[in-house]
Subunit: 279 residues, 2 copies
Amino acid sequence: MIRVLCQQLAPVLGDAEANRALSLGAIRDGVRAGADVVVLPELVTSGYMFQSADEAAALALTPDDELFAAWAAEAERGGALVIGGFPERGGDGRVYNSAVLLDGTGVLGVYRKCHLWEREKLWFTPGAEPPRVFDTRHGRIGVLVCYDLEFPEMTRLLGLAGAELIAVPTNWPRVPRPAGEHWPEVGIAMAAARVNRVYIACCDRAGRERGQEWNQGTSIISPDGWILDAQPDLGSAGAEVDLRLTHEKAYTGLADAFGDRRPELYGAVSSPSGVSPTV
Amino acid sequence: MIRVLCQQLAPVLGDAEANRALSLGAIRDGVRAGADVVVLPELVTSGYMFQSADEAAALALTPDDELFAAWAAEAERGGALVIGGFPERGGDGRVYNSAVLLDGTGVLGVYRKCHLWEREKLWFTPGAEPPRVFDTRHGRIGVLVCYDLEFPEMTRLLGLAGAELIAVPTNWPRVPRPAGEHWPEVGIAMAAARVNRVYIACCDRAGRERGQEWNQGTSIISPDGWILDAQPDLGSAGAEVDLRLTHEKAYTGLADAFGDRRPELYGAVSSPSGVSPTV
């Protein structure tokens, strides 16, 4: 069993120092609370509501930035993993909406968001690589960022690649929902967790930034698709999870979430013209 | 605007005559209530809880069975479409878990369930063709059957192929759910509707059959992923739907549910070995 903890924070747009203190404190608090995996929001080092590419670029970091060494030092106190979002300056000079995964030994990997939401397209370059599964001290962890989650191909890809936990730093701008319903992105995560039999930990943000509010929808979801813990306000959501449960894709001896797939029929997913549109 | 109506019925296992009367009455009632599209449950002509392949085969029908001509005659009274499930005897002598789509002119098409749930594998042959979109008098309609829905590739395929409405005859055996949550299959349908911007109409069944109860989860879901109407008991769920809403896949001028896809990155979905499992 490991303890997964999401820290729903309120970063301050453009204030790298404030966000440094915020993120370090959140990791420290999480580790003290016994977390093995600490998930932070998307773009936690910078804030989200940029108004220009220059503004985003000015806050971009490389994965060897001293900030991540400081995150790693905090993680090391509890042997924890940390996943959190940041604007990344690539070796190519471009700026990506990325998430770093690290432990006390340093950065284990960086994932660049493949599906950029809305005006992010004006200041970020989309990732060119599909998501990977990182084999860590605390399990096989896939990383997506926010809008990626709304493409079921992405969660399926990670599920098939053996992910036990998908960590999703996110900034979900506030959207409408009917009374009694989950945030739509949470519902999508619940469905993805269930059909892929994986844990999904979505870490949203709080606060108000240039007038924008957020769903504050942080949720940790079981392989059955149910919410283990959620956090509607500033603060954390945490759950003890048994990653071995994700190894069992069979529902019964005669039904299997993965074994029952018919990939030979799914080719048209990437080429819809291959599907006869009429009777 | 068209009116979609699902009839959550309680077929009688093995009693073709009773089920004939039940299905004809349900179509008649639906058409009288103004339905343009009437969806009936999976295997509505036969019941579900077979104990042998012989039992299923004995109830299998061909699409030119007189029953479907009778369905078509009822449909014709209101210019309606009907989608409903039946055990199909194929030209190859095999038995399929199928759904027929018909209107007053007769059978427009048959879809054979591609993903067989559990013991269905003991008496049915899985469909060999991916689902299609049928261009009908009441819109572009895709048909799936029950467990198919739990494979997001299937709903994606129909969405990309231009489906406006996905009709899903189903028999959902009763499963656990936490208080306040939707049935898991309904949650999966809600997520699929939202990410594909399509309507989904799931028609479940009621009653008890050889000790088995059902979710009774009939639900009609909007392209935003919300439930327009549901039926927890015997009876119907109905909604007026504007199929044109499904033509708009854009969320904003800078975000598009389909245009933002990255199919060049999804290849690994069908070949997980293509994904690096470690950092």
